[in-house]
Amino acid sequence: MGIEEKLPSGVLLTTVENLAGYMRKSSLWPATFGLACCAIEMMASGAPRYDLARFGMEVFRASPRQADLMIVAGRVSQKMAPVLRQIYDQMPNPKWVLSMGVCASSGGMFNNYAIVQGVDHVVPVDIYLPGCPPRPEMLMDAILKLHEQIASAPLGVNRVKAEHEAETLALTAKPTAQMKGLLR
């Protein structure tokens, strides 16, 4: 995409990685995707008591083209799924998805035909946050964990290598059909 794709693996690339990671994590711009009660907690996190501005992300962008973190807060109905995907597609790279609350993460208690059983069926999710709804501290904890991941994200050839490793790991993983209990 940018100049980091041309850099050889080494000290220069890791320095750029660290710098880019620090800048990316310090100015995340969340896109609002409040769908249900989790959105109330998300709004509370932006309000003075919890104050997401401390992490450089107080403005929730209603326009996806100005956002790079999508907080999916609430249950996603089948009808909302294409809209969610469109919003995600309109966000510029690099972008992250935080699945807030159990309904967004796995369908939660709504195990029925109207609700998408986890937004990872529609968009790639970077971090899952349980809770019904999660309290603002839980959201901030998830955001901070995501910050750590963003800060250490590989770029260029390192990213290609990491993706390749993740792919081979996923291909050799035990199929869920052979797992026991809830993993099945």
């Binding site: 796995s106 208690m109 971090i127 904890d141």
Partner: protein
């Protein structure tokens, strides 16, 4: 207020706010404790001598409105006793991506094996890692506890356990656990699930 100073009133509000107490919680640095009865992550409790309280009855799984709990019970045998009484929970999983922390499982539990802690920092990067196994849920070994499996305290039955008459692990139980661990030591454990 009107007149030439009307415009300054807004500045006055801003200025006055500087002397008000700040309500912001400095979350990751200073964690405010939750309410004592906060519904957080579950804990599977143990009796005072280290035997598990869970009897594998699946009442928690039946009570769960989100189908988040999966239990498989198994029989205790003389050689492998995990809980007082007949049965124990061999597989115990809670899917935290389904759990809504309503606490109905806690109400359903007949032996107070399942309770909730105040821990809430649960976010994770994959769905599989948010399915907590029995090892993740079991409470810590407190002083005086011996790791299950081991026999019940000599001369006590499960009624005495539920009535809280059992204290710390007896020397016989500790000796049993020590000899079991010594026997297991050479081979790596293969019954992890």
């Amino acid at each position: 207020m009107s007149g030439p100073f009307a415009q300054l009133r807004g500045f006055g509000v801003t200025f006055g706010t500087m002397f008000k107490k700040v309500v912001t919680e400095q979350y990751p640095e200073e964690k405010n404790p939750t309410e004592p009865r906060f519904h957080g992550r579950h804990v599977l409790n143990r009796h005072a001598d280290g035997l598990e309280k869970c009897i594998g009855c699946e009442l928690c799984a039946w009570a769960c409105p989100a189908d988040a709990i999966y239990v498989e019970g198994a029989d205790n045998t003389e050689d492998e006793r995990f809980s007082p009484g007949e049965r124990y929970g061999r597989v115990y999983q809670i899917n935290y991506l389904r759990c809504i922390f309503c606490g109905l499982c806690i109400e359903a539990c007949p032996t107070r094996a399942l309770t909730m802690s105040n821990e809430y920092e649960l976010a994770d990067f994959s769905r599989a890692s948010l399915i907590f196994e029995k090892e993740d849920l079991l409470g810590p070994m407190m002083p005086g506890m011996a790791a299950a499996p081991h026999p019940m305290v000599e001369g006590y039955d499960e009624q005495d356990y539920y009535q809280g008459k059992v204290g710390r692990a007896t020397p016989e139980q500790e000796e049993y656990v020590r000899s079991r661990e010594a026997a297991v030591e050479p081979a790596p454990d293969k019954d992890s699930t």
